[in-house]
């Protein structure tokens, strides 16, 4: 952590922009190469459309794309927030309650072995084809990293720091809220970053299966119509949604964690 001016959010964004420059150049080079290969080899559009064609579709049919983007993005956020609430809560409960640690934590780990995607049909049976099923699938996929990271973060608290707090008559709540929770925050944010990408996967898989609305639905629908440019446009928009959601978490992390995490004092 250095002076405020080096550490301000605009300054950080500027630094990020410089860091991203090589990746941007390479991305553009790949797109150009892609375009050239498809044109020169005369690859059929149904197999691989050119990047310009895909961007053309994104502009021409932006209303259809946007119409399906909103439900996907919103449901990702709902599923994710549910996973944060339950996952972080359960992680805290496991850290503090022997009953949860011995009784619930092994079940959570065992449950992680189940491929969650396989639950999608079951959720449809239970909750129907609506948003509930989709949000719940995103939730069950995203919540595991939150539980594990919250628990691990609380456990990583320096015992001497707890002893220090006790020496100043700290209550159990003070120790949790002022020492253990801040210690766990960087871990929790790692969990959030994994969780948000998992939530996107959950929503898309659920949209494949429920086939009602959303970018996942648009992808399978376009595939049925052999409309590959639309299919790839939907994938691209989906990636943008994923990146934006991830970036929001990173931004939040930068706002919350302003200290040097690596330092043990």
């Amino acid at each position: 952590m250095a002076r405020a001016d080096e550490n301000s959010i605009p300054a950080q964004i500027a630094t990020q922009a410089v860091n991203l420059a090589p990746a941007t150049v390479i991305s553009i080079a790949i797109l150009v190469l892609w375009q050239v290969i498809v044109v020169v080899l005369k690859i059929p559009e149904a197999i691989l459309p050119t990047p310009t064609r895909i961007f053309g579709v994104m502009v021409e049919r932006r209303e259809l794309l946007l119409q399906h983007t909103w439900p996907t993005a919103l449901q990702c956020i709902y599923g994710f927030l549910l996973a944060v609430a339950v996952g972080v809560g359960l992680g805290i409960a496991i850290a503090f309650s022997r009953l949860f640690r011995t009784g619930v934590y092994p079940l959570v780990i065992a449950f992680q072995v189940v491929p969650k995607v396989a639950l999608a049909p079951l959720f449809i049976v239970w909750f129907g084809l609506g948003t509930t099923s989709r949000i719940l699938l995103a939730f069950v996929i995203a919540f595991f990293p939150m539980v594990v990271n919250t628990f691990a973060g609380i456990q990583s608290t320096d015992p001497v720091m707890i002893r220090m707090a006790r020496s100043f008559s700290a209550s159990r709540w003070t120790i949790f809220s002022k020492i253990e929770f801040p210690t766990a925050l960087p871990y929790i944010f790692s969990g959030l970053k994994i969780g948000i990408t998992f939530a996107v996967i959950g929503i898309i898989v659920a949209e494949f299966v429920t086939a009602q609305e959303g970018l996942g639905y648009l992808i399978v629908f376009s595939e049925g119509n052999v409309d590959t440019p639309m299919l790839m446009a939907a994938i691209f928009v989906l990636s943008v949604v994923g990146v934006i959601l991830y970036a929001l978490i990173v931004l939040l992390e930068k706002l919350v964690i302003r200290w040097d995490v690596g330092q043990k004092l």
Binding site: A2, V160, M164, A165, S167, P182, I257, D260, Q263
Partner: protein, 301 residues
Amino acid sequence: MGQGGRDQRQIQSGQGLIDARPATWRLGSNNQTGPGPPFGAGRDRGFMAENSVHVQIAALRKIYQTRREEIEAIHNVDMAVSEGEFVSILGPSGCGKSTLLMAVGGLLPISGGSIEIDRDAVTGPRRDTGVVFQSPVLMPWRTIEKNVLFPIESLGLRVADYRDGAAALLEMTGLGGFAHNFPSELSGGMQQRVAICRALIHNPTLLLMDEPFSALDAITRDAMNQELLRIWQEFQKTVLFVTHSIREAVFLSDRVFVMSPRPAVISKIVEIDLPRPRTLEIEETPEFNVYVAELRKAIEG
């Protein structure tokens, strides 16, 4: 420390005078003929009651239960520390001296005997003690000022009332310009100074220090020792200081309790009658080195 702190301290000293403490108390386990006035020449203690006992440890035992056996970390320790006295507990690593200090701080349950502070049995952490640990244990997410103010929050006091006190303490320890920095921006010595400010912020009467400078380089350590004496002189706290450095113990203390391992007992008590205020030059004097030799002999048994 603000004006309020000073007033309070004077009231406490005054009470010490009026307070009818028992004329007799348990003596140190051996070697010591009486607690006596422990203060070196040249140190003005004002009207403080010189022989009122602040910390009284009697027949203290601490047993750790491992899976196979019982380990006796402290065998049978008696100790009396007067108000305003600077006492070091000196011994090799693993002799139980830190255990003893943590027990006085109410941070470890004891297995037998008693610890009393101001004739009040220690059952847990007290509001009138401040502990400095071997590592600074600062919270990396808090600024220096907020680290220093942590005990105030923890004790449920009004933070606003202690802001000036924190600023004064930081100023006094040469950290005035760092109140809004994060701990990672400070050197090890500076961090430990922050930990000392934190231990003093709530104006405790007893300061417990567990090898606070052992992680610092020799030069920083010398500087910190001098600074600690200056702080002690200024605030007139009772200090219980654990160390494994003989020279450090002699330089700082009014009395040095030598602790030996297996059995973990106080094997010798040495009164350090060197003039105060002390500066590093005192380490060159023959008197200083006589004490060092005496303590080394005591440790080597």
